[in-house]
Structure formats: structure tokens, C-alpha cells
């Protein structure tokens, strides 16, 4: 129990530290969000008015206090029409209002999160399944044609930038063959799954290449272990030795990496989301950073930091499930 509390406290501190660092860096940069919002054509007096409206003319500590002070509220909103908080039960989470889009950040994140999660989960499935299977097969055929081919393909996969993979997939499977939409998100779940195929493949293939190498190398080590030799000696079927005895143990490092990558998949799909016009967190965050939309940036950072921390927490739990020794400790 104390371990759990300690982990939760460390997690909360990590999230707070990341958001605070972002807030400070963002606000000490010699750039003026009001200027970007108003546009290069706006007159200085008009820029000053916008700065005042957004509260950007106030000292840093006041802005910081307002951001964190208003983050969690237990009271009902004074004016529901202008309330920018999302309420769960009696607790409100208020990340402010986007400078540019003039919408509550919680609303923007709420809209961007489902597409991102869909894409992230599908990409994860692609990379785990493709990486696991390819790595296992390559290890089973060590130094064979399949092994060399897999190693070569993974090198290409790791080296090819996402934008190239995305463009090639889009060009061939969407434009030339017409099997998938060129871009967009779709209105129904069927359309969304169909539309997600190419972005998920784009995002997943890079990770799959990496996972293939990881699983292959781990499998090669494990296949030389005594208990695997014993399994062979007992005359167990090949698939059983490979999957039950070797692959299961090879998944431990994979789980670690998956946990660490989850946050990256949520926030790191920027290029993929841009190519396929996928309305997720990546697109939202890159636009916000370019346009210096502070509240959105802080909201995204808060979300991503929380995701990574939560994913790491889940990885620890997964260890216990996969490895009985961890459970006993």
C-alpha cells in the first residue's frame, strides 16, 4: 500500500514538474502570443488590447497562480455560459480557453483524444503483432534468408522517416488503388477504422521494425537457455517451444518499451496526423506550439505527462502479471 502511495505521489510530482517547466519556458520566451493571434498586420494598440484581454500583461507568477489555481474546482460555475471546465461529478477540470480558437481547452482535448487513442491503439497493435511475429520468425530461422530479409526490412523500416512511409502508403493504397481514403476521420466507427488503416500502418511500421529487432535479439538469447533446451529434449512441438517458452519471456522488454512508447504514440503522431488530416492530439499540439496557443500547449503537456506516468505505472503492474517472480516480491 505504501508502495502504491509513493508511486502516486511521485507520479503527481512528475506531472506537476513537467507542466510547470513548460509553463515557465513558454512564458519566458521572447515571443508574444498576442502578436501571433492578432497577426502581423494588426496595429500595436490592437495587439496591446488582445494582450490585456488574455491576461498576458500580468506578471508571470500571477498567470501561473491563475492557471494552477483554477485547474481543479469543486464549486459550481458562476456563469455556465462562459464556464470552460469539464465536470466529472462535482469536480471541475479547467484548462482555460484557447487563445486562437476561443474554445475551452478541455473541449478541444476531449475531441482530439478519441482519434488519437484509436490511432495509438491500432498502431500499437500493428507494431506489437508485426514486431512479435517477425522477430520470432527471424530468430527461429537464424542466419537464414528469412532472418536476413527481416533484418534488412527492419533497417529500412527504422531508417525511413514517417513522412516518407506515410506518403508512399497514401500514394499507393489510397490514391492508386483506392482501397483506403486519402485522409480524414470519418463519421461512423466503420469509416473511422477504415480511415485509420493507413495512418496506423504508417505509425506502426516504424515501431514494428524496432520491435522486430528487439524480439529477435531477445529470442536468440532465450533459445540458448537451459529450459528451452529441456523443452526441445521433451519433444514439445516447435511452436510451443517458441511461443510458450521463449516468446513469452521475450515479451518482458517489449512490455517495458510499449509502456514508454504509449505517451509517444499519443503525442508523437504529429507527422502522421498531418499527412492523413487525422484530428488528434498531434495535430492540435503542433498547431498550438506554432501559434503560441499557451492554454492548449499546457493542456496537451498535462495530458501527455499524465499518460506517460500512467503507462509506466501500468507497465509495473504488467510485470507482475507476466513474471511470477515479480508478483512474489
Amino acid at each position: 500500500m505504501s508502495w502504491l502511495l509513493r508511486r502516486l505521489a511521485v507520479s503527481a510530482f512528475t506531472v506537476w514538474a513537467v507542466v510547470t517547466a513548460t509553463f515557465v519556458v513558454f512564458n519566458v520566451l521572447p515571443e508574444d502570443p498576442a502578436r501571433v493571434i492578432a497577426g502581423p498586420q494588426a496595429r500595436p494598440a490592437d495587439v496591446a488590447r488582445i494582450r490585456e484581454q488574455l491576461g498576458l500583461d500580468r506578471p508571470l507568477h500571477v498567470r501561473y497562480g491563475r492557471f494552477f489555481g483554477g485547474l481543479i474546482s469543486l464549486r459550481p460555475p458562476a456563469d455556465p455560459a462562459t464556464d470552460s471546465a469539464v465536470r466529472i461529478g462535482g469536480v471541475g477540470l479547467d484548462l482555460g480557453v484557447s487563445y486562437l480558437r476561443r474554445r475551452p481547452v478541455t473541449e478541444l482535448l476531449g475531441k482530439a483524444l478519441p482519434p488519437t487513442l484509436l490511432l495509438g491503439v491500432l498502431a500499437l497493435i500493428v507494431q506489437v503483432v508485426v514486431g512479435g511475429v517477425a522477430g520470432c520468425l527471424a530468430a527461429a530461422r537464424r542466419n537464414g534468408l528469412l532472418d536476413w530479409g527481416t533484418v534488412a526490412l527492419t533497417l529500412i523500416g527504422i531508417s525511413a522517416p514517417t513522412f516518407l512511409t506515410g506518403l508512399l502508403l497514401q500514394h499507393f493504397f489510397a490514391r492508386t488503388l483506392g482501397w483506403f481514403p486519402l485522409d480524414g476521420y470519418g463519421a461512423t466507427w466503420g469509416e473511422r477504422l477504415h480511415a485509420a488503416a493507413l495512418p496506423a500502418a504508417t505509425l506502426g511500421l516504424f515501431g514494428a521494425a524496432y520491435y522486430t529487432r528487439l524480439v529477435r535479439d531477445e529470442m536468440l538469447v532465450l533459445l540458448r537457455q537451459d529450459w528451452v533446451r529441456t523443452a526441445w529434449a521433451k519433444g514439445l512441438p516447435r511452436w510451443r517451444v517458441l511461443v510458450r517458452h521463449a516468446l513469452r519471456n521475450a515479451l518482458m522488454p517489449l512490455v517495458t518499451v510499449v509502456g514508454l512508447e504509449l505517451g509517444g504514440l499519443v503525442g508523437g503522431a504529429i507527422v502522421t496526423e498531418k499527412i492523413f488530416r487525422w484530428p488528434g492530439i498531434g495535430s492540435l499540439s503542433v498547431d498550438a506550439i506554432v501559434e503560441r496557443d499557451g492554454p492548449v500547449v499546457f493542456g496537451v503537456v498535462l495530458l501527455l505527462a499524465s499518460t506517460v506516468v500512467a503507462a509506466n505505472f501500468l507497465v509495473d503492474l504488467a510485470y507482475a502479471v507476466l513474471d511470477p517472480r515479480v508478483r512474489r516480491r
Binding site: 521572447p30 515571443e31 508574444d32 502570443p33 502578436r35 501571433v36 492578432a38 497577426g39 498586420q41 494588426a42 496595429r43 500595436p44 494598440a45 490592437d46 488590447r49 488582445i50 484581454q53 480557453v97 486562437l100 480558437r101 476561443r102 474554445r103 478541444l108 520468425l137 530461422r141 534468408l145 528469412l146 530479409g149 506518403l167 508512399l168 500514394h171 499507393f172 489510397a174 490514391r175 492508386t176 488503388l177 483506392g178 482501397w179 483506403f180 481514403p181 486519402l182 485522409d183 480524414g184 476521420y185 470519418g186 469509416e191 477504415h194 480511415a195 526441445w232 512441438p237 516447435r238 498531418k274 499527412i275 488530416r277 484530428p279 495535430s283 498547431d287 506554432v290 501559434e291 503560441r292
Partner: protein, 581 residues
């Protein structure tokens, strides 16, 4: 030990698919043919028109939206009291007539009868006053309220010291007047901005963030859907005041779409009109015989060049600035992006330049540039490569902009007169912050888009003493010239066009001779449309004005659709049959 069977056919299939993909990409040296025939058809109602923007639309609230993409959609949703005709001249729109008092201080607009908002309410003079007050209200995040500072009572109202804008008066049910504190030759131009469009009563008297999602005006189309980063959809306003117009039932504008995706969609009919083609694609379409007559350059309303900070060495010496202006080879610059970059040596773009200024401008002359360097005491000997300014000069440009490429060329061109340039690339917000700060950036790329099609917009906000500030100066060259200030102030209040032409000619001469900018080029886009789209040509002022376009639906092939498995099973099967043996 059993072995896992090999699947050589799977490997071969993979290699085949990869080969076909690479070959397809490699052979893509031409463009698809236009979809359907071009037939002369009269305007007919019906159909859906589709286009796309690379950027997102920030807002559709008339009071706050000022970016290019927003302005295009606003042109569909809102009508203003005044607009521009096909020749780019001011013309009444919701106003039936405009009367200007002899002293130029009072503008009286008589509104058309029978104009209906999208909610069915009739337009009245009080709607105009309410809309103007809403835009200029202190709580409204309007980006350019100071454009209207000459309206009597603006200061008091905008600062929240007065409950109403006294300079705007409802004279009768259909007559509204604007009283100005000083004459203003640009007043009708700023009234033509969508920011001054009358909005429905549902917009309220003050700005709310919800109105952008349910924007409501008196324009030819009413808003159906607006999703940030996805699409804007409008449909025909049946109560529009121009009988029988508009023609298209519905217009969909996709947002945040990559230029290459736009091209792919355009060639299969998912988009009917396109403006943001990549450089190479634009060239392919322009060269294609099949596409002749289906595309046109838009009129650029922008000017780009190099600013030189007149407060920093060596540009505090006008001879050095003049040397840069002479050394800049604009024709060579234009070759970097043929067609898109139109060389110019004048601040005012062709589309709005008065006749009197057309022969004025900076030009390339290397000998004169060397002579100016000599006059500055920095003589450069090209033979021995000695002399010139001894230090490197920072040139600030926005990363990945054309200003970056222009800077690389400028670097070579200025080396010929003894100026060594170091290019510094930054993001847009940093660029704005640094160029606006006094005594910070010696030179850099610079550009200005017309706020409205009037020469003053290319001088007053960026080259006058009034535009200089210690921070956030819009006058990036920190150039101050009393004569220029005075003549621009005179031009602002002068309504005599011939006199204004003379004043702007002198302004152009001052820029040519004093060279706060080395004026270089205008940037323009090539617009393209499918043969079944009629009634569209680039407007000289209003961008992407498709309000009264129509579709030849009989000539339009069946649309492929966003999700092709629904409607394109035939083609999908064919494609599969092509790839699979």
C-alpha cells in the same frame, strides 16, 4: 524438428507490390486529365462544390476573423454594406446607395429593402449599428478595431467609457450614417472588410465564443457545420436578396489539408477547385495542354523584400541601403519559383497601383550598387575581393519560408558588392518578436499583405514614424522620414484621386531613393478548376470568391467519395485485379 514452411509466393507478392508502388511514384511525371468536358451552360442551381485550405479556419465570427482562410468563408456567409465589383472597384452591396458629405466627414448608407438574414429577420439600420458596436466593443477580441478609430466616439466606446458608438446613427429604418472625426480616404475600404458585416440578432450585443459555430449573416450561404481542422459546410440561403442566386446548393471547404492530398483529391473529383498546389504540381498543370483555360494566376496583393534597419550599422548609411536595393537581382530571384514569384521594385502591387506610380521603382544595377558602396566609404573591388563592410550581417528569415530561399540568393548577390550575410532562421513568432524590437535585427526578409486594396496600406502601417515602437514595431526598418509621414497623412484625407496618385508617386520615390526596403517581389498563386465548374475566375481583390459559381452537373463524373469502398467497388476490383496475378 519440424520447420516452419516458407512462403516464397508471399515474398514475391510483397516484392511485386513494392515494385509497382515505386514504379507508380517514379512514373508520376504528368497530371491527370480534366474530369468531363467543358460545355457552355447557363447558370443553373444545384450541386455541391468542394475545395480545401492548407490551414485551419480560426473563427467564423465576423467580429474576430481576419485571417485569409476565414475571410474566404466569411465572404460566403456575410454581405457587407460595400464590397468590390469584378474590376476591383468599390461598389455598394447591402447598401443601395452611399452618400458622402462634401467635407468627407459623413457617410450615409441607404440599405436595400428586402434583405433577409439567415434566420429570416429583415435587415435594418439598427442591425448595422448593433453589429458595428459589437465588433468594436471593448470585450470583443477584434484584431483590428483601430481601423475604425476615425469614427466619432470610437475612443470612448472602445475603452468602455461610453455605452454606445455615437458616430454611428440610425437615421431611419433603412438609413444609417457614420460620422468621422477627420476625413479618411480609406473609410469605404475598411467598411468593405467582413469585420463590419451585419450579423443576426442572435450574435448578441457583445461577443460570445459560441457565435463562431453558428455564424449568421445576410450572405448568400448559411453555415451548416464548422469543425476546426476538419471542414466548413455552408448551404444556399434561399432568402438571399439577389434573386436566383447563389447557384450551388452546398459548398464544403475542407480544412488543414496537405497540398499533395489536395492534388490527389482534385484529380479524382473530390475537390472541384484548388489553389494551394505545390510548386512542381503547379508547373505540371500549367504546362499541360489539357488544362489550358482551366486555370489562372490570381492578382497578388502583397509585396515582399528585404528590410534594412536604418538605426543599425551599416544600414544607417543610406548609400549602403541603396547599394543593396541596386544589387538585388529580382529577375534571378523570380527564377527560383517561376510564375509564383513576380519581380517588382515598387511597394504598391500592380492590382492597386495608381497610374501615376507605375513607372517608379527600384531596379537591379550592379555598377550603381558598387558606386553606392563607394559613396558609403565601403568601396569593394570585385577583382581583388577587398573592401566592403568588414563584419557579417545577420539576415533574419522565417524557417521554410520563401524568405529563406530569397536570403540564400541575396547572400550571393550581396557578396558581389562586399556585404557578407549570415542567415538566421527562426519560427514565425520569434521573427515577429525580434524584428519588432528596436536595435535588434539589421536586416531580414519582410512582406506585407494588403489589408484592403488601397496604396496607403503599403506605407502607413510599415514605413511611417508612427509605426515605430521600441517593442513590436511594425516598421521593421525603423525608417523615419518626415516628408513621407507628411505626404501619407495628406493622402489619407485627400479624396481627389489625381492628387492621391501624385502623393503616392512621391512616396514610392522616397522608398526607391532611401531604400528602407529592397523591394523584391509579389507572391501569387495559380488557381485551377475542373471543367464542370463555371462562373469562377480569380477576383482582383476578393480571394477565392466562389459565391456565384455554378456546376455543370451533367458533365461532372460521379464523385469518388471520401470512403471509396461505398461507391467505388468497380475501381477497387479493377485495381485488385491489376495487382494480383
Amino acid at each position: 524438428m519440424r520447420s516452419i514452411p516458407r512462403r516464397p509466393e508471399a515474398t514475391r507478392l510483397g516484392v511485386a507490390i513494392l515494385g509497382v508502388a515505386l514504379a507508380t511514384v517514379a512514373c508520376e511525371a504528368d497530371v491527370a486529365a480534366p474530369l468531363g468536358p467543358r460545355r457552355e451552360v447557363p447558370p443553373t442551381q444545384g450541386g455541391v462544390l468542394r475545395s480545401a485550405f492548407f490551414t485551419d479556419v480560426r473563427s467564423l465570427d465576423a467580429a474576430t476573423a481576419f485571417d485569409t482562410a476565414s475571410a474566404v468563408i466569411e465572404g460566403l456567409i456575410y454581405d457587407q454594406l460595400v464590397t468590390y465589383d469584378r474590376h476591383g472597384k468599390l461598389s455598394p452591396q447591402l447598401a443601395e446607395s452611399i452618400e458622402v458629405s462634401p467635407d468627407g466627414l459623413r457617410y450615409t448608407f441607404t440599405l436595400r429593402r428586402g434583405v433577409l438574414f439567415h434566420d429570416g429577420a429583415p435587415l435594418g439600420a439598427d442591425d448595422v449599428k448593433r453589429s458595428v458596436e459589437r465588433t468594436l466593443h471593448p470585450d470583443t477580441p477584434c484584431p483590428v478595431p483601430s481601423y475604425y478609430e476615425r469614427i466619432v466616439g470610437w475612443g470612448e466606446y472602445h475603452e468602455g467609457r461610453a455605452p454606445e458608438l455615437t458616430g454611428v446613427r440610425v437615421e431611419s429604418e433603412h438609413v444609417v450614417s457614420f460620422q468621422l472625426a477627420q476625413p479618411d480616404a480609406t473609410f469605404l475600404h475598411v467598411m468593405a472588410l467582413p469585420i463590419m458585416a451585419p450579423v443576426c440578432e442572435s450574435a448578441g450585443r457583445t461577443w460570445t465564443r459560441e457565435f463562431s459555430r453558428r455564424a449568421c449573416g445576410a450572405g448568400p450561404y448559411r453555415l451548416v457545420r464548422f469543425e476546426h481542422g476538419d471542414a466548413v459546410e455552408v448551404e444556399r440561403h434561399d432568402g438571399y436578396w439577389q434573386s436566383g442566386k447563389p447557384y450551388v446548393d452546398r459548398i464544403v471547404w475542407y480544412l488543414a489539408m496537405q497540398p499533395f492530398t489536395q492534388r490527389f483529391k482534385f484529380e479524382r473529383g473530390d475537390l472541384d477547385y484548388i489553389r494551394e498546389l505545390g510548386e512542381a504540381d503547379s508547373l505540371l498543370y500549367r504546362r499541360s495542354a489539357a488544362w489550358q483555360g482551366l486555370g489562372e494566376w490570381e492578382q497578388p496583393l502583397s509585396t515582399f523584400g528585404v528590410f534594412m534597419n536604418a538605426e543599425l550599422r551599416p544600414f544607417d548609411n543610406r548609400h549602403v541601403r541603396r547599394a543593396v536595393a541596386f544589387a538585388l537581382d529580382r529577375d534571378q530571384l523570380a527564377q527560383v519559383r517561376p510564375g509564383h514569384v513576380a519581380p517588382t521594385g515598387r511597394m504598391t502591387p500592380d492590382a492597386i497601383a495608381p497610374e501615376a506610380v507605375r513607372d517608379v521603382g527600384q531596379r537591379h544595377d550592379l555598377d550603381r550598387a558598387l558606386e553606392e558602396m563607394r559613396l558609403a566609404g565601403l568601396a569593394w573591388d570585385p577583382a581583388t575581393r577587398t573592401g566592403g563592410w568588414p563584419e557579417e550581417i545577420e539576415y533574419l528569415a522565417i524557417l521554410d519560408s520563401f524568405g529563406q530561399q530569397a536570403g540564400e540568393l541575396l547572400q550571393q548577390q550581396l557578396a558581389r558588392i562586399g556585404l557578407r550575410v549570415r542567415i538566421q532562421l527562426v519560427g514565425f513568432p520569434t521573427y515577429l518578436a525580434r524584428t519588432g524590437r528596436r536595435r535588434t535585427v539589421p536586416m531580414g526578409s519582410v512582406g506585407w499583405n494588403a489589408d484592403y486594396p488601397e496604396p496607403s496600406t503599403f506605407f502607413e502601417p510599415i514605413l511611417t514614424s508612427r509605426a515605430i515602437q521600441d517593442e513590436e514595431s511594425q516598421n521593421a526598418s525603423f525608417f523615419s522620414n518626415a516628408e513621407l509621414d507628411a505626404l501619407l497623412a495628406r493622402a489619407r484625407v485627400t479624396t481627389d484621386e489625381a492628387e492621391r496618385g501624385r502623393l503616392y508617386r512621391r512616396a514610392e520615390e522616397i522608398v526607391r531613393d532611401e531604400a528602407p526596403w529592397a523591394v523584391a517581389y509579389s507572391y501569387r498563386y495559380f488557381e485551377l478548376w475542373q471543367p464542370y465548374l463555371h462562373g469562377y475566375r480569380p477576383h482582383p481583390v476578393l480571394q477565392q470568391d466562389v459565391r456565384f459559381a455554378w456546376l455543370d452537373r451533367g458533365a461532372r463524373p460521379a464523385r469518388a467519395g471520401l470512403f471509396p469502398w461505398r461507391r467505388r467497388s468497380g475501381r477497387t476490383t479493377l485495381a485488385l485485379a491489376t495487382v494480383l496475378p
